[in-house]
Amino acid sequence: MSYSNENQLLVEPVAKLIEQFGRLPGVGPKTASRLTFFLLRAPEEQTKALSEALAGLREGVRFCRRCFNIAVDELCVYCASPNREQRLICVVEEPLDVLAIERTGSYRGVYHVLHGRIAPLEGMNREDIYFDELIERVRNEPTEEVIIATNPNTEGQATAFYIQRALAPLGVRATQLARGLPTGGDLEWADPATLGSALEGRREF
């Protein structure tokens, strides 16, 4: 590749950092060099803070042993909190989805992070996500309701069905997030599937 040749023209530490940045999702070669040269000119405290943050990431962070959310201690903040309804579990695909639900400010239960979804074409099956752990958890903990909040697309839906099927014999209430129109959207541009489920899930004023 011509680009890696170009990198050889640069001094080693610079080329190395460009290469590392270039491995990040959504970062191409041009962005990688822009970030690198920005840091080269940035004050020392800033680069130092960044490198410390990077080092701390590996050391200080792990998965919660109960819900597999990212955590500092053995349990994540939600699992450890006495103010959280521990019998209500919200199942999400990624740790970022936990943040999204937290931002609503209207959820008081705990989570279970699958770290993926079932997508046979991408080689993701039940053993590649924290699925069995969820079923085991529901079996062992007093649980009242499992809210399945996988992404509203085909893979997420298939994963939701798959979870629901495994939960059914356990006698736990399983629910799913409603699907409908986004705030700020336009009816005219809504796809039939979304509009259909919005109609189905309509509510009394």
């Binding site: 959504g26 079932i118 046979p120 074409l121 991408e122 080689g123 099956n125 039940r126 399945i148 697309n153 085909t154 893979e155 839906q157 298939a158 939701a160 069905f161 798959y162 629901q164 099927r165 059914a168 014999p169 399983a174 629910t175 799913q176 986004p182 700020g184 959207g185 336009d186 541009w189 809504a190 796809d191 039939p192 599937a193 979304t194 259909g196």
Partner: protein, 260 residues
């Protein structure tokens, strides 16, 4: 083939993966072959495109020719197969059809017959009572379209017309062997008369024909295994979606209808 800067095509979404910050990379089947395109910003909830590029959707798309990948500028759903999406078994069958097509059809490999077949099959999977037979129909037709039509009327080895005494299916020869040629392939699979008849029937009849059939579980299983072995021979590998297909079929609950 020279193309306009913007062109319109029918398409079925076979695969999707995340791309860049909020884009999606789609693998489409179009009448003009398989094509990889980018849908910009489709991962944002407010995307106008998102609902129209869902997996297995049959759409009309407007695409702009891009440098590496063409870019989806508009997409309108023609069929979204809602019933299929609401049932785990049907979803797993659709995954399977998508993977087979993805493996067997090349990029820009013009094949309008296969496009029609896929649309027909997804439509059938949306409503059929016989998911497995619909898949068998699909497999046989797809193999035919790409030049691997299993030989079921003449011996795959000596071309003799086959009678009801044929008992072997050879994956390497690509079809049924007559009794005299059985030794031509020592690894040829045993095949019952029922399976032989069913294969022939599915190869020549329409997709709707499978709705009226009542067949034993063992016969269905036998035909599935024969075709699976043949496909493995053609593909020279296993399909990823088969494990999922088998997994969701063995349902302890006997309940195939997800949450509603």
């Amino acid at each position: 083939m020279p193309r306009e800067r913007v062109y319109r095509t029918e398409a079925v979404v076979l695969r999707r993966s995340d791309w860049s910050e909020a884009d999606r990379l789609l693998t489409l089947l179009t009448p003009g072959g398989k094509r990889r395109v980018v849908a910009k910003g489709a991962r944002k909830t407010i995307s106008r495109l998102a609902g129209h590029i869902e997996l297995f959707c049959y759409t009309t798309m407007l695409l702009a020719v891009g440098r590496t990948f063409d870019i989806v500028t508009q997409s309108a759903v023609r069929q979204s197969y809602e019933r299929l999406r609401g049932d785990l078994q049907r979803i797993s069958a659709a995954y399977y059809t998508a993977e087979l097509i993805d493996r067997l059809i090349g990029e820009d490999d013009e094949n309008p017959l296969t496009f029609e077949l896929l649309v027909e099959t997804l439509g059938a999977l949306d409503s059929t009572r016989a998911i497995d037979l619909t898949l068998r129909y699909f497999e046989l037709r797809l193999l035919g379209n790409i030049g691997y039509r299993p030989r079921l009327h003449n011996c795959a080895n000596c071309q003799q017309t086959l009678g009801e005494d044929a008992k072997r299916f050879s994956t390497t020869a690509g079809g049924v062997l007559c009794p005299r040629c059985e030794n031509a392939d020592r690894r040829a699979l045993p095949m019952s008369l029922g399976a032989f008849k069913l294969l022939r029937y599915l190869q020549t009849q329409s997709a709707q024909a499978v709705e009226q059939m009542t067949l034993s579980e063992s016969l269905r299983h036998e035909v599935e295994q024969l075709l699976r072995a043949y496909l493995r021979q053609v593909l020279e590998r296993d399909l990823k979606s088969v494990a999922f297909l088998d997994d969701v079929r063995t349902d302890p609950q006997g309940d195939h209808h997800g949450l509603h």
